[in-house]
Each structure stands twice: as structure tokens, then as C-alpha cells.
């Protein structure tokens, strides 16, 4: 408490000092004459802009070099690499514009500061110039748009035929992973079947669902395309996996999708980064409540062999958690209910 009080007192005193300084300089300026005072201020501030430009430029370069290893500049996925080169192209063009405009701004501000003999030039317009600096940016931006949309359609287009599928369902505040099991097909799901045990509402009437298994992490196979089917149980979440350049909202009531091809195994990343504890992490990227910052998921990229080994040890959710338990009975009741409900709705539609 006393620290705070001291800090506050110090700040107040500091402010008073600055205030008095400011008032004094104003009196002095009035005495010396407004014109002279303004001229001096012009000189100082113009110089400060130049200093800012140079100092800022140095700080910029230093920070880029220093933080480069922190930024994930080389993606671990196929489409991620497309996006990296797209990013670099954008950086090239915007970097040029950034440097030219900022330098011109600060240089002009310094060079054309008011001095006793300076007169401004009455030059109100130049339509030809306007045309050039409209057309050239438009051309560059069109190029960026074309590249961008081309890649966008590739990324959002249909997944390759040999893709594996994983369903990831977000909830406050965790991720649920469902795998298709040996038949390679994810069973259907229905909102009405969600409960404390059947967390993602698997429809056990669907034969394809009987061998689905749940996991505590996302296991993927290196160089094999994977389609993520993304769902949510409560509010909007988002599956974000920075190293793979994956980002897609999880919306209750819908299933969204995102496919990609991981290119570096977890083990190889650990070697590459010289970090034996490295893991690919899923972050929730849409504010979902007070636990939003804690919704971490783990992604493990393995060789096909390692994955098969892991998968063979996983047991069907139906067999282990549902069959022969109260949950099975509960599901049967819910299922019957849902069937009646759907029949009634269909009948209504027929009549309308």
C-alpha cells in the first residue's frame, strides 16, 4: 500500500514539475515573441522527426532480426508453405511502399520546415500523378488478390481422396477428438444424443459409428492429407494450429471443415528446434468464455507405422463405454424419441 502511495506522490510531483516547466517556457516564448518561439519549436520538432526516422529504422531492423526465430516463418504443412511464399511476396511489396512513404514523410517534414525565408509552393493538384499512383497500387493489389484467391480455392476446395478424417469438437473448455476406427468412416452424430458420457453425440445406430474411438490428442500421419471435421457443443470456438497454418471456427449447429497435409513429424521438429519437449499445440482462436486461454490441444504427427501402432491399441468407444451399460439403454430411448420426432416433422412437411 505504501509503495503505491509513494509511486502516486512521485508521479504527482513529476507532473507538477512538468507543468511548471511548460508554463515557464510559455512565458519565455511570449516575451521573446511568438514568431521566434515558433521558429525554434519548428527546428526542434523537425529534427526530432528525423531522429525518429533514423532511430525507428534501426529499432525496426534490430527487432526483426532479434524476433525472427520466434515467428513461425516455415510452416509444417504443404499449404502452409504456399502461404509462406505468399506472405513473403506481400511483405516485399508492402515493405517497399512502407519504406518509401515513411522516409518521404519524415524527410519532407524535416526539409520543408518553416524558416525565415521559406515560401511554400502553390501546387494544388496533378491529375496525371493521381492516375499513376492509383493505377500502380491497383495493379499490385490485383496481383496479390489473384495469387491469394488461387491459393484460397486450393485450400478450401475438396480434400484429396486418400485423406484420413478426424473429428474435433470444442466445448467450454476442452477439445474432443473422434477417430473413424478401422472402417475409416466416421459415424453419424446427432445433437440429441449428446450427454455426459456420449460427449459428441455419436449415433450408434449408424454401423460406421460402432468402431469409432475417442482420443485425448490429435494423432496425424506425416505427409498424409487429413480432413478435420470441426464442431462445437456450446459456443463458437476455433481450431488454430499455427505451425500448420490451420484456422477454422467451430460453430454449434454446423460442421465446418479444414484439410491439410502435415510435413514434419513431432520427432523431427524436436530435433530441428533442438527442443525435446516440443509439441504441436491447438489453440482456441475465438473467445469462448473465461477459460478461453486454457483450451489447449495436442497434435502428434507420426509416421504411418507409428500411427497404425497407436491406432491398433485404441478401443471402440461403443464397445468400451456404451455397450451393455445404462448408456446403451439411454441411447436407445433417445434414439426412439428422435425417430418419432423426425417422422412427425417429415409428415408436417408433406402436408405443407
Amino acid at each position: 500500500m505504501s509503495t503505491t502511495l509513494l509511486v502516486v506522490i512521485a508521479l504527482v510531483l513529476f507532473v507538477i514539475v512538468i507543468f511548471q516547466l511548460a508554463r515557464t517556457t510559455e512565458y519565455v516564448a511570449m516575451l521573446r515573441g511568438e514568431e521566434k518561439a515558433q521558429l525554434d519549436a519548428d527546428k526542434v520538432n523537425a529534427r526530432l522527426f528525423l531522429v525518429f526516422m533514423i532511430g525507428g529504422g534501426i529499432a525496426l531492423v534490430w527487432s526483426l532480426v532479434h524476433y525472427e526465430p520466434y515467428m513461425i516463418l516455415h510452416a509444417s504443412s504443404v499449404h502452409g508453405q504456399w502461404l509462406d511464399s505468399m506472405f513473403n511476396i506481400t511483405l516485399f511489396f508492402t515493405g517497399i511502399v512502407f519504406i518509401i512513404t515513411q522516409v518521404m514523410l519524415f524527410y519532407f517534414v524535416w526539409k520543408y520546415k518553416h524558416t525565415k525565408d521559406r515560401k511554400a509552393l502553390y501546387y494544388p493538384e496533378n491529375n496525371k500523378l493521381e492516375m499513376w499512383w492509383t493505377v500502380i497500387p491497383a495493379i499490385v493489389l490485383t496481383a496479390l488478390v489473384i495469387i491469394g484467391i488461387y491459393r484460397w480455392f486450393q485450400i478450401t476446395g475438396p480434400e484429396p481422396a486418400d485423406s484420413m478424417v478426424v473429428e474435433i469438437t470444442g466445448q467450454q473448455f476442452a477439445w474432443n477428438y473422434r477417430y473413424p476406427g478401422p472402417d475409416g468412416k466416421l459415424g453419424n452424430h446427432e445433437y440429441e444424443y449428446i450427454d455426459a458420457i456420449n460427449k459428441v453425440g455419436i449415433d450408434f445406430n449408424d454401423p460406421a459409428a460402432k468402431d469409432d474411438f475417442m482420443g485425448s490428442e490429435m494423432h496425424l500421419v506425416v505427409n498424409k492429407p487429413v480432413l478435420l471435421r470441426i464442431r462445437s457443443k456450446d459456443v463458437i470456438h476455433d481450431v488454430g494450429i499455427p505451425w500448420f497454418r490451420v484456422k477454422m471456427d467451430a460453430v454449434p449447429g454446423l460442421t465446418t471443415r479444414f484439410w491439410f497435409i502435415p510435413t514434419v513429424t513431432t520427432a523431427d521438429m524436436r530435433t530441428k528446434l533442438n527442443n525435446p519437449d516440443f509439441n504441436y499445440e491447438i489453440a482456441c482462436d475465438q473467445l469462448c468464455g473465461k477459460g478461453h486461454y486454457g483450451m489447449k490441444g495436442l497434435v502428434i504427427v507420426q509416421t504411418q507405422q507409428e500411427y497404425d501402432e497407436w491406432a491398433s491399441k485404441q478401443q471402440s468407444f461403443y464397445e468400451t463405454m456404451v455397450k451393455g451399460t445404462d448408456e446403451e439403454k439411454r441411447f436407445a430411448d433417445l434414439s426412439a424419441q428422435l425417430k418419432t420426432q423426425k417422422a412427425a416433422e417429415a409428415a408436417k412437411e408433406h402436408h405443407e
Binding site: 500500500m1 508521479l11 496533378n126 453425440g201 471456427d249 454446423l254
Partner: protein, 616 residues
Amino acid sequence: MSNEVSSPVVHPVFEGDETHHQDSEGELHDHGHAEHHKEYFFTKYIFSQDHKTIGKQFLFTGIFWAFVGGMLSVIFRLQLGFPNQSFPILETLFGKWAPGGIISPEFYYMLVTMHGTILVFFVLTAGLSGTFANLLLPLQCGARDMASPFLNMLSYWFFFMASCVMLTSFFLPSGAADVGWTFYPPLSGVKESAPGAGLGADFWLVGMALFIFSSLLGGLNYITTVLNLRTKGMSMNRLPLTVWALLITAILGLISFPVLLGAAILLLFDRNLGTSFYLDKIYINGHPLEGHAGGNAILYQHLFWFLGHPEVYIIILPAFGLVSEVIANNARKPIFGYRAMILSMLAIAILAFVVWAHHMFVTGLNPFVASVFVLLTLLVAVPSAVKVFNWIATLWQGNIRFTPAMLFAIGFVSMFISGGLTGIYLGNSALDIQLHDTYFVIAHFHIVMGISAFFGMLAGVYQWFPKMFGRFMNNTLGYIHFWITFVGAYAIFWPMHYMGLAGVPRRYYSFDAFQSFNMFGDLNKFMTIAAMLVFFAQILFILNFVYSIFRGRKMTDPNPWKSNTLEWTTKIHPGHGNWDGPIPEVYRWPYDYSKNGDEFIPQTEPYRPGEEKLHH
């Protein structure tokens, strides 16, 4: 001056609208009105219908909210810069929201939600448009007051009511809203989804509805005044760029704010009346959400961003106008490319309506639809670039006077370049995949709104403070204010680009759980300290502002900046009706600076024989 001033015919818009009236002979006369009303304290200062007073009311309230919103950010930046560190003062001040001197996640989310809401709407919309449209439009157009002073007064008081509702929400037991300033359902639509999704959220929605009424009433006035009440000779192509900017802003607001009102009302219905516009298939807190089915959460996002995107242009356009005026005046040069500046603002305004879904690229939007929005979004970069080039060209061969206003205008250009360029990355949907909802976005919108637009507002305050109060703000404090803020703002927000590129998500209370994100500890400390310094500089500004109203150096020259525009042709303390005699007539555009040896030629000066006329 003859009494036969033939100004445009004006009819009182509403009963009791006494600013313009006909005398007994049925002729419209322009003369000052100070002698006609008896003014009570209440009608002169509180429920004033004078646009200049209303402008000040918006400014004072805007400054109050800027202080609150800035303070909120210092608190949550304490958590981000010094996580897990106890500051006992926080528990003293905030009790249950900061147990053990560490702010709780619930409190953190309340802080970021209200910070965004307050700054976007209450400071940068009401505080910026409200202040300067009210102050400048009638004066710069050559009108006695707004078209409807009564509606104008109402627009401030609806803003005041909205402010009361928002402020009160902080003191509710469950606290203010904590679902993000964007308020997406189902998080905001289901009361049990978060602590601040309860009563605080209802207060927020009601507060926003009141705020929207305020904006609409103001906007109606601004448009009508500019279109109908310009003085003789003030054709549209002789209007200062401030007026153009504020006019276009008002049109944008008029069309887009009602959509947010609709979105908010539907949300209130979902929350309180059992409807399901946005809700479907929700299983929350261990139970299904009964009675809500068939809605679509994405509908809200379309409705929200249909306002939300134009909103950011509503914020930046007035800054464009103010900065153009300040730069031309202080460089003693015509603004370069007056026509191009107007056309670019029009282009930006039109495009503003058709880019909203670039906020929704990763919602599962139809990819083809998304691609259309990519094209339109990157298109809007073109007129923005043109404006930047024009400002720089205005400085070229100028004769630059560095008042605090000019410093902020120059700083604006630098910031707008930085922030605008990162928009090009975000608007390209494929790149947005990586950058969406990361610190890269935070960097972008803070630099372009939080700083650029704010700098425009500050430039306006410093430049027009003498007009409002007949005194000057202290220059030394102004210089200190600028340099700390300019350097500090870059220090706070530039590093966020790096964090964004590393994938660090926004709206995270802490990064402890993630090895991917927890390496920016030192950088976060640095940004927090910079934020505190910048906040401190704003306190200096507020002190300067308040002090100077009462004890600032007095204006002796009614046109201290040697400006050409009409507001400087009134006397130093303009009364009701602005001009004592008839309203001046206008003969030229406002940018004849340094023409043929004349340092400035006010709009009220006719063309000399043989003087070169532009197309204005």
C-alpha cells in the same frame, strides 16, 4: 453590408426550433440571435441547443471515456506484462475481481470487452464525430446552427444516457459484459455461458441501442445541415475537406447503424424472450439448452459486421478530414489533389459496405463468397493509398509550422501507413487463415484506429481548442504529449505483429499453458511499460486541456492559425448564431495558401481581377 442577404431559404424544422425565424414582414433575415432568447443556466449549458456547446459536451464526455477506456487497458496490460505477479493495490481497488492482487480471468475478459466497446463507440465515434461535426459543420458551411438544434441536443443526451447505462454495468454484482466487444452469440446469447453474459450483457445491449439512437439523430442533422444550410457561394466543391469527411461519415452511419440495432434487438430477444435467431443445437454446462433451436450464430456476425466494417470508416473518415485541414493549414499549402481526396473518400465509403465478411473468413463461409470479399477488400486499399500520397505531396515544398496539432497530423500519416499496410495481409483470405484472431489483428486495428484516428482527434482538439474556448493549450505540454505518445504507441503495437506471426491468439488471459506462446514474456513487459507511459502522457494532455480552458493563453487574434475557413471569421467568442452580422459570403475554395505572394486568402475574399481560378 446590405441587409438583403439572400441566403438559402430555411424553414424551421420543428416546433420550438427558433434559430431561424421570419420577422413580421415574412422575410428571412440573418442576424445574430443573442438578444432574442432569455437564457437560463439549464438551457445555456446543460440542455443547450447550440451546436458549439453540444460539440463541447461530446468532447468532455469523449475525454472522460478515453480516460476510462485507457485505464482499463493499463490494468489488463498489467496482467499480460506481469502475469502471476501480485499487485495488492488491485485487490484494494477491485475486491473480488482481483483476489490476491491478481486480476481474475473473468475480470480480464470484462476489461477487454469494455475497453473495445468504450473506445470504438464512445470515444472514436461519439467523441470524434460528435465533437467535430457539431463544432465545425455549421461554422464551416456558414450556417447559424444545425438544421435541427433540438434533435441535436437530443443526440447528445441519448449519448449521455447510453454512457450512464454502460458505466452502471460495471457496478453490477455480475459485472459488465465480458463476451468481447464483438458480442458473438452463443457466448453472448446464452446467459450461463460466462459471468458477464448475464445482466451486464443486457445493459450493454440497451446502452448500445441508446448510443445508436444518438448517432442516428446526429447523423441526420449533419447531412441536412451540409446539404441545405450552406451559405451563399459555398458550393459543394468549395467545402473544406472536414465537411466532406463528416458528411460522408454521417451517411455511412445512417445506413449501417440500424443494422447493428437490429442485431442487438434480436440478441435481446434470444436472451430474454425465448427466441432462437442465433441459437441452435447448444449443449452447455452439462445440459442441453432447452427451447432454443433452428437459429444460426453466423447470422449475427453478418449483421454485426455489416455495421462493424463501415464503423471503422466512420471512425477514420473524420480523422481524414481533420488531418487534411490541419496539414494544409500548417504547411501553408493547398491540400494536394482536393478532388482526388473527395473521390477517394467516396470510394472508401461505397466499398465500406461490401467488405464486411472479411471479418468472417474462417467461420466456414462459402469460399466463393469469401473470394469476392477479398477482391473488394483489397480494392479499398487503393483510395486509401491515394490519400496517403496526397498528404505527403501536400508537405512537399511546404512551409511547415510545427504546432502540436500539426505534429499529431504528421504522426497520423505515419501511423496510417503502418496500420493500413497490414490490412493488406489480413484482407487476403488465405493469409488471414494464419493471422485471424492473433495479435497481428490487434496490432493492425490499434495502429489504424486506436492511434491514427485518435491522433486525428487530438490534432483536431489542439487546432480548434482556441475556437472552442478562446484560449490556447500549452505548446510545450503539447510537444511532450506528442512525442511520448508517438514513440510509445509504436513501442506498444509494433511488437504485436511479431507475436501474431508466431500465432499468439488474442483475448488470452495468460500464455502459461502454451509452450508455443509463452516466449514473449520480456516483450510483453516492454509493451506494458510503454502502455503505462503513453497513458501517463494522456493524463498530461487532459490536465493541459482542463487548465487551458480556464488559464490558457488568451486569443487576441480571431484567426490565430491564419486559416481560410469560415469558422475563423467569427469573433473570438462566437455567440448564438455564430456571426453578429449577416453570414459571410464565400467566393473561393478554402485552400488558397501561399498563392501569388499571399500567405493565405480566406474563402470570403472575392477573386482579384486577373487572378487564376481553379475549377472551384
